[in-house]
């Protein structure tokens, strides 16, 4: 007799199959409730490795998005400071041209121009010392507090740059060199305006300063152009970061999350299997010969 079947063997195999069904059911239930395709790396080592990688990339991408927002605040602050400065300088140029009309202006009129120019100088100095969250945006990496002191000396660290990392391997400069935009010491735009004011008061013709003012204007516009270019670079990086976050999330979901509909259908099917296994077991295990004797 190859296979003699006994009631106890049937009971045991029925128990084993019920147990296997229940294990499968509990696994599906765990997937359905946790919405995770796997709980341990051994369930799917390749997916676990991908998930680890994607998690790290997501974290870095989130960080880049934060860096980009911070960098954006810097470049917009720099940009608006430079554009205010150029319009102030434009006004100063107009006043200088006006003040150069020696024949038409008396000393009172010249004095009033001089006073306005002094005001413009102070405003320019304030723009040059623009700060963002306590950092002078034109002072580079210096911690001096202001980019230009009262003697118009540039306090920034020479050649330093403030950069933000916008993606793996790409950094963008987010500040502007104050010494290039405004000049330093005697060569600064503030000293220039001071000398215009002094000439106005002493009666010297100020027309000779127009060339210097135009040069400064060109320098400012050049710096603004560079800042604008970096701003658009940061904007592109932001778009890339948003795109990345969407595609990374899609990849993460594809690896880690379960398809709810599929799991529900499989859960239903498994439940049906379990129920029928229970019903069949109940019918098979009942009868014995004892029931039919006498």
């Amino acid at each position: 007799m190859i296979s003699r079947v006994t009631a106890s063997a049937m009971t045991q195999s029925a128990m084993r199959h019920l147990q296997a069904n229940l294990t499968q059911l509990s696994r599906l239930q765990e997937q359905a409730t946790s919405q995770r395709a796997f709980t341990n790396p051994s369930d799917d080592p390749a997916a676990a490795a991908t998930a680890l990688q994607v998690h790290a990339q997501q974290q870095r991408n989130d960080q880049y998005a934060r860096n980009i927002d911070d960098g954006m605040a810097w470049v917009t602050t720099v940009d608006s400071a430079i554009s205010s400065s150029t319009s102030l300088l434009r006004r100063a140029r107009d006043l200088t041209v006006q003040g150069a009309n020696d024949g038409a202006l008396d000393s009172t009129a010249k004095e009033s121009i001089a006073v306005e120019l002094e005001g413009i100088r102070d405003e320019l100095l304030a723009q040059a010392n623009t700060s963002l969250l306590g950092r002078s945006v034109f002072a580079g990496t210096s911690d001096a507090g202001v980019a230009f002191d009262a003697a118009f000396g540039y306090t920034g660290a020479p050649g330093s740059q403030v950069v933000r990392r916008v993606s793996d391997g790409v950094t963008v400069r987010v500040d502007a060199d104050g010494s290039a935009v405004f000049g330093t010491g005697a060569g600064s735009v503030f000293a220039l305006l001071d000398s215009v004011v002094a000439d106005l008061r002493s009666g010297t013709n100020v027309g000779s300063h127009l060339t210097a003012i135009d040069q400064r204007m060109t320098a400012m516009l050049g710096a603004q152009g560079a800042v604008g270019a970096r701003q658009s670079q940061i904007e592109r990086a932001k778009e890339a970061a948003v795109d990345n976050s969407v595609s990374l999330e899609a990849r993460r979901a594809a690896v880690e999350d379960v398809d709810s509909v599929e799991v529900l259908v499989r859960l239903q099917a498994q439940e049906l299997v379990y129920r029928s296994a229970l019903a069949v077991t109940g019918r098979v295990l009942q009868p014995s010969l004892m029931d039919f004797l006498r």
């Binding site: 006994t6 341990n40 790396p41 676990a48 490795a49 870095r60 990496t141 950069v163 990392r165 010969l289």
Partner: protein, 468 residues
Amino acid sequence: MSTFSGLTAAASGLAAARRGMDVVGQNIANQTTEGYTRQRVTTHAVAAIAQAGRFSTGAVPGQGVAVDGIARLGDALRDARVRDTLAASGFWSTRAVATTTAETALAEPTSDGLAARLSAFWAGWQDLANTPDSGAAAAVVLDSAQELTVRLADGYRKVAAQWSQARATVDRTVSQINTAADQIADLNRQIRDAVASGRTANELVDQRGLLAQSVARMAGGRATVEADGTLTVRIDGNALVSGVDARHLVASGPTSVDSAGRVSVAWQDAGFPVAVADGELGGTLAVLAPAADGGPLAQLAEAYNGVAATLAARVNTQHRAGATASRAPGADFFSIAATGPAALGLGVVPTSAADLALAAPGAGAFDATNADALSQLGIGPGSPDAVWADQVLRFGVSTGADVQRARLSESAAVAAASAQQSVAAVDGDEETVSLVTYQAAYQASARVLSAIDEALDVLINKTGIVGR
């Protein structure tokens, strides 16, 4: 031929049917007893009395039935297969349970895992690079560094604790094997005596079979039944139980995961080692093996140490390349204890933002080039993150393989046990049929007895009284 020989034959039938019913009763009573093997009365027909001399007394029937004994309907081959499959299933299930436990403690890939802590640490440096003047960002970096060291030490401790538990299991299993060996030797003595004196020892053999199964599950080995009825159990080719003698095993070796050497088992009397490659003991020894020999727990502990060492080396090199806000050159960021496992000895050196070397040497006070460089250390091959991800992947693959083998060997063990049970288990229907058969046989024997009795009654009491 005796006048009363028919009566004797009928009486032997009665006795045999009674014995048959008794055995059915024993079978039914032990229907659910673990390890019980069904029994059956074996009988033979008694031949007629041998006739001597040259004169035949004619055709003579047999003398009834004789009970030979009570047979135990087991199958030694199937028992041996059960023991073999149990040894394999014991080995792989022990390994699989150990590796899945360690894997659950990894908590990868979730936000509680080491990989997430590493990512948070690197991200902290980026935030600090954005705002080098912010004390809050510096505190976040120092905190996440602290958290990272705690997570590393915690992971290592969990592995070490699991190793120590497994080590204790070795001692426990060895003493269980020794006890079982003693019991088998004792049963061998009883069975040998019973067999020698013609008694049945079926129940003792059942008990011994159960013990042999549990020894196989614990330590593998081979068991063979000898001619005198005793069972010889061999592990690694040497006898654990031979006849009525049992030998004992003894375990020795390191008691913690960070000590060198390997846990081994030897014969207590002879002292030479036993290569236990099967059963739960073999599985536990494989789990406890040193990392170089593929021990999963030791490898995991080594991975924690490797991550700690790589992290400290890389971060320290980069941190020393920078300068602090006061333009002093950077010092070590992580310290590693000179002795003991690196994962446990990892500490954070800087205590405040002033100790952090964020700037490149010679750059402005708010320069954060070095902080940015530090934040990039987690990327690329050889980084602590890559070392860890690689370890998680390899551990996952080997755990998956262990679980798969455990499942396979388990189903082989189940199949072998079913095959064994298909021969040895008691079937209620079959026993009922036997019971009814023996009952009918008993009734029929009784009828034969009374028929002969009536016939003799006629012969003795009614003969020779015609016409009286």
